[in-house]
């Protein structure tokens, strides 16, 4: 009988302890997940998991307390987006480390890649344009002939010869 009672106590204690541990663990685990998406709004813009040292910062303490409240109170099971919305409404969008990926906030994320796409198109377009312009010019042949030797326009030979002689002289003094 005594043994059974003791076992009952032990079981009860274990349940209470494990519940407490579970709760403590959940807050400890959840805190960084949420805090890492928030930054201090006093002006230092330090991520919440870091300490803000810029000035005497009372803002940070309030946000800290709010994170703990959100993760332990009635909102603890809400989606991350809802939690972030709570902070955004209370402190303004400056508290978010990253702009939202929904609604108009998405535009900020998309535009750089749109610009990158446009830029890439421009680069390839320019390369193609210049390559086309290069085609009529004497290009290197597959036999490995120097392009100059390929087909100089008539009347150029004299100038070319003169240039070659000059170049040789130039490189001799190099």
């Amino acid at each position: 009988m005594r043994g059974r009672r003791a076992a009952g106590w032990a079981a009860g204690l274990a349940i209470v302890l494990s519940a407490a541990t579970l709760r403590a663990e959940t807050v400890a685990q959840r805190y960084p997940a949420l805090a890492s998406k928030l930054q201090c709004t006093c002006g230092c813009a330090t991520p919440m998991p870091q300490e803000c040292e810029t000035m005497k910062c009372s803002t940070r303490k309030a946000i800290d307390a709010d994170i703990v409240w959100v993760e332990t109170g009635p909102m603890r099971n809400d989606r991350m987006a809802v939690k972030l919305q709570y902070f955004e409404q209370k402190y303004g969008s400056r508290i978010l480390m990253a702009p939202p990926t929904s609604g108009f906030g998405m535009v900020v994320w998309i535009m750089p890649w749109v610009a990158a796409g446009l830029g890439l198109w421009l680069v390839f377009f320019s390369i193609r344009y210049w390559r086309k312009r290069a085609l009529p010019a004497p290009a290197a042949t597959s036999t490995g002939e120097a392009s100059a030797a390929a087909a100089p326009p008539a009347g150029d030979e004299a100038a070319l010869e003169q240039v070659r002689a000059e170049m040789d002289r130039e490189l001799r003094g190099f």
Binding site: S147, A148, L160, Q162, E166, E170
Partner: protein
């Protein structure tokens, strides 16, 4: 009153200095005529081509370029230089 007078004198002195500086200037030189400028531009272009040649040659000596690349590069520079030379002869 005293400081005001000093300030007024200082202002007059500064203006006088500046006026003296402005009025004692000579004449500015005008640049070359368009024809001369164009010829100079061609000479500049030719100089650049020779600089490019020197770079190309150095890279070849340093083993950075294969012979094929060197030939092609040099050939193109020769063409460019010949074109510029012809233009210069046409304008001179």
């Amino acid at each position: 009153m005293g400081t005001g007078l000093v300030a007024a004198f200082a202002c007059v002195f500064l203006t006088a200095m500046v006026a003296y500086f402005l009025l004692t200037g000579g004449e500015a030189q005008l640049e070359d005529s368009p024809r001369e400028a164009e010829l100079r531009a061609l000479r500049e272009r030719k100089r650049t081509i020779y600089d490019n040649l020197r770079d190309l040659h150095f890279e070849f000596l340093a083993g950075k370029l294969g012979e094929e690349d060197y030939r092609r590069g040099r050939g193109a520079l020769e063409q460019e230089a010949a074109q510029v030379t012809r233009k210069m002869e046409g304008r001179a």
